[in-house]
Point group: C2
Chain length 306, copies 2
């Protein structure tokens, strides 16, 4: 597998990120087969010209590379090594590109299982969101052997704008993603706290957005998410439940390492409150809606469709 055109790739997990990556690979001329437990996701990939399979093993037939973009380590393990799992069906020497957010220990454990059956493993979490996935413009935080990078390169070239090569040890990619998610999650919760507080203080929150994005209080997430609140649009670009999951993983690692993470702990509680209020599948800026509900605040609301 040295050029994109020659590559046979399986993609497991056709959610917004996996679907975007799969489409980018189809556009690049790769032979791509997708699988998802959700038939609706498979239908969508079919509608966009993709080939689908009935189970992970079928998606992996003769695959040089297998991209796994499911929810967590347990799902990654199951679709690779469970019944009808992909690992057994792949070409020996093929590479698993594992992109779910998981703990470094899980990444190391899965890499060892792959090695046992003669497969390469790239610990390769992704960042950038659904839109960038579809454009092939993701950031990939990857670690693994030189060989695994070489085998994965045609896929990485097609799906990513930037690939950070973080060393030979699987687990490094996962660790970097964990640190990024800690910051991203806390910053979303904080953006929601700040913008609702600004509203309570009687400020023009459009002007607050303008001033803060030009000031020392800015964050990537403040800049990206607050416009959803200003528009009253909570269509999920990335859902609350992604952060109950990811900050949950961060908090679990903190406990395992006996390392206190107070900011993370509180942000996780705010996402859990938002999910508990019935907004788990809505956009993660919904933390602001939760605060507004609790405090009786009027935020902009979605214009009602005709």
């Amino acid at each position: 597998m040295t050029t994109a055109e020659a590559a046979t790739v399986g993609v497991i997990g056709l959610g917004s990120m996996g679907l975007g990556m799969a489409q980018a690979m189809v556009r690049a001329g790769m032979r791509v087969t997708g699988y998802d437990v959700n038939p609706q996701a498979m239908k969508e990939f079919s509608a966009r010209g993709g080939r689908v399979a009935a189970h992970p093993a079928a998606a992996a037939e003769d695959a040089d590379a297998m991209v796994v973009v499911v929810v967590n380590a347990a799902q990654t393990d199951a679709v690779l090594f469970g019944a009808s799992g992909a690992a057994a069906a792949m070409k020996r020497g093929g590479v698993i590109i594992s992109s779910a957010t998981m703990s470094p220990d899980d990444a190391r454990r899965l890499a060892a299982k792959a090695a046992e059956v003669g497969l390469l493993y790239l610990d390769a979490p992704i960042s950038g969101g659904a839109a960038k996935a579809a454009e092939g413009q993701l950031t990939v935080m990857a670690s693994g052997s030189k060989e695994s990078f070489v085998r994965a390169r045609p896929v990485l070239d097609v799906v990513a704008h930037t690939v950070y090569e973080l060393g030979a040890d699987p687990g490094m990619g996962a660790s970097f993603k964990i640190v990024n998610q800690l910051l991203a999650g806390v910053h979303i919760a904080t953006a929601c706290e700040a913008i609702t507080f600004a509203k309570r203080l009687g400020l023009d929150i459009e002007l607050v957005y303008k001033v803060i994005t030009a000031s020392a209080g800015n964050s990537w997430m403040f800049q990206d998410r607050v416009p959803h609140i200003l528009a009253g649009d909570y269509t999920p670009r990335s859902a609350v439940d992604i952060f109950t999951k990811d900050l949950g993983i961060v908090a679990d690692i903190g406990r395992a390492e006996k390392f206190p993470l107070p900011m993370t702990a509180i942000a996780l509680q705010m996402f859990l409150m938002t999910a508990a209020a019935g907004m788990g599948r809505d956009d993660d800026a919904s933390v602001a809606r939760m605060i507004a509900q609790v405090t009786g605040l009027d935020l902009p609301s979605t214009p009602v469709a005709d």
Copy 2:
């Protein structure tokens, strides 16, 4: 007072911000008189060619504008309206440019007191740090009457790169600053939590800095403060005690408004822990040193001078 050259200005508070602003005004050819309770600060201003006064009233003699850059509302009140206060000595119709971080209610109260004695009041908190103050490149978040903006303009032109005009109501400037400080303080505490956690996970924290500043986990404060940690240099550019104070003000307003601010509350506790550990006057990135002490982590330390 229509041009900088013709202006007589007093500056009360010659800490790093006030000193920088005063110097910028001296460079612009203004007649500047400074006052600070700390004789050392006055000595420094003298050494840089500034004129100093024995008390606030002496600094305010014939002043068209009075810049007040002290620690909080109580100090602002005292230097303006207390014994030997500046307000009585200023030209009638002159403008008080009030730049300490304070609650919107305090800003409104001080503006009313100024009006009672025939003075204009610009609620004008600043952002940008000591280096930008010295360069005349601050951001000013200002509110007040049209007249007060007109009278303050020569000073604003000299000290600021950007002046946000946030309306006629004193209290708006203070409110915007409060929202900015909430975000800034939480982001510093979070940057310190994330980078120490990264170290605990065994990551190369220089590489973490490089990856995160290009990723969705970035914040203005992460980008600005983490280099202090990487260099092991906790010389105060802005001190821990600034944030125990400013997040304290934010938390007080939240309680007064019955508005929950969980992220703020925890960040405040982290700054308090850092101050309690003896680092209150050190750089605010010292939150990372506090975490490192508690968790037995090796962060880079300052190279020892010969």
